[in-house]
Symmetry: C2
Amino acid sequence: MEQVVNIGLLGLGTVGGGVYKVLRNNPAVNIVKIAVKDKNEVQEIDGLDKNLLTEDAKVIVTNPDIDIIIEVIGGTGAAYEFIKMALERGKHVVTANKELIAKRGDELFEIAKQNNVLLLFEAAVGGGIPIIMPMKMSLAANKFEKIAGILNGTTNYILTKMDEDNADYEVVLKEAQELGYAEADPTGDVLGYDAAYKIAILASIAFKKKIDQSQIYREGIDTLSPIEFKYAEDFGYKIKLIALAQSVGNKLDVRVHPMLVSKTHPLAHINNVTNSVVMQAQPVNQVMFTGPGAGEMPTASSVCADVLSIVSEIHTTNFLLPEMRCNNTEKADILPIDETENKYFIRIDATDTPGVIGSIGNICSKFGINLNYIIQKDVTKDGMATIVILTGMCKEKDLITALNELSNLSSINTIHKLIRVMEL
Amino acid sequence: MEQVVNIGLLGLGTVGGGVYKVLRNNPAVNIVKIAVKDKNEVQEIDGLDKNLLTEDAKVIVTNPDIDIIIEVIGGTGAAYEFIKMALERGKHVVTANKELIAKRGDELFEIAKQNNVLLLFEAAVGGGIPIIMPMKMSLAANKFEKIAGILNGTTNYILTKMDEDNADYEVVLKEAQELGYAEADPTGDVLGYDAAYKIAILASIAFKKKIDQSQIYREGIDTLSPIEFKYAEDFGYKIKLIALAQSVGNKLDVRVHPMLVSKTHPLAHINNVTNSVVMQAQPVNQVMFTGPGAGEMPTASSVCADVLSIVSEIHTTNFLLPEMRCNNTEKADILPIDETENKYFIRIDATDTPGVIGSIGNICSKFGINLNYIIQKDVTKDGMATIVILTGMCKEKDLITALNELSNLSSINTIHKLIRVMEL
């Protein structure tokens, strides 16, 4: 660290503000310029030097004195253009932009490689939790088998409250919006888009393949009801929105949907806005990283870690953090959801007549589906019963076929949405 | 990675065997020689090339062709001499030796610095869990406030079983020994020595000070009884052996002892031999790393990660992983245990007479100790009652004074060993 490294900051929103506060007192770096959309609509930051502000980001990415660009604008439009421009000019780039890395990362990593610079993105997955560098460096000797994570704080908050308060989704969502834990338009979070970007990134690192994130199967949390949390609890499970990536033969099984997680695993006890990711790999077996998945200061922690990693090695010759490069050549073959294998939790409304449980068992058995539990729950006055099933491991398309046949039985009233069960 | 890096392996026990199995198929490295105590008493490893074995470790550490020495002998005798010798000859060293790093690390890091080589030790704390590199690199922008960990698998296994089975310490220890989870002489684990080495290492990294590990206050798990787990559960806590390090003013509070951990924190749900460490730091706030704290293959994962980190940067000029060096100059001032502040769980046997609870409250209040809970539990036929107390935050020496005065009351029969309460 013979000389101060010059930084250009693109964006001064929530994360940008945090980055500025952390880096401005670090003697190893010098924030030369900050790009904002509108100089007159900048957030109040104590001691912010207004002379650093510019509305012209291009001036920053083309400034030959700047060594590292930090991109915290978000989105895939201007952010993409500026990162590309910076890399092409031989500048290292640090970003927190999960959508961009998930959608166009491969292209940008290639440009970074051609220009012998780094594009780091620790903050793009799990906010303040160290994940990318531990995967790439601390677990460098491992072969990854499975990654399962709670990667979205908004949905984990909603699920925690639905469970604790026995409350409906819509009610808790509104509460989360009032508390600032959910956005006015919560689509990106509650339908699993955000988690899908993140698991696409982790899968590409773990399995060293290009991931077409549009192929990732996604279900949100909006169809869950409080009674499911109660029944899951009876079986010893919590319900979590899980982002999953695992190697199955020569394909990758990558998806985001609610899952039952056994209370014997620490992942079931990750509550509120906390994020956590479990990595199954050999020889390490299973490690888990937990912490704040979002927020101004935690996210700034990861952005600044990337910056300091570059700073501490920027004057080395030859290889600069070679382990941190992401240049995958092969495209992953993504397993379609109906080809995946899972255990399933199924809730059925049926008439409380003799033989119903037997019929369900027979039909499942016909399609090779073992039932680990089949339990009759609450019977109502009008003779309706709730039957809850936990299946053994089976192929999803076989289960769907069995459920279709089941739905034709006169004693079966409603088969509710299935929930898959996490194996950890 | 232009050329293969030559490795010398010192020790072929549990960890050494794992390291050999992981590295022998890695094209970036070449295991040149393996030092063992007795060639005729080497463990069976499929495909082990017996020509690699030598009983003379000195030949390895003085071999000019060897770039990296892996030390997995253990202890502070020969291991120290060989590491010193290797560093002085300009070789990088990777070790899993927590006792040596805790006791003589400062000295060895200084020798490494003088010879411009690295001494890495990821496996020394938390076995396969990435901890050291995430702390030093991923959390580089943070100021650490507190570290609290379950850092010993043997004791966590025993505590988990005592809790689950309502079983006595001696019974579970015997069972753990039969299962191979505890050694024949379990002293190093159950009395907290092992955890004390590990927290000494983590504290020195977090707070950038030299730690005299002999000053670390230590209590084992051997005095715990199953009834304490039950009462703790009633208050919403689990009991864990916690290794703690926190900054208090200009002193460091570093200690190992059983603590009550709230079930609302994921740390309470870390069971059996799993290890976990929580780090409180700014700006990240709180992150947690969980995984296998010991074992052949997990520990090999960390040893090999260190090796591969060196390999990938061994040909850079100037700085080789500068962030991973540990050269503290200042000695930490360790806070004595009676000066620490905690909440406390106290179990008292008293006569079931009116006024006992009032007297306890009055005496505590006299010494400025608030009681968050004071509850009378089981009353026996002979008129004895168990009273369980959870205090507010107070200085340990004030509590000891209050308990001494309490013990003089005729209605108080026994004041059991206090258990401190974790604040997370």
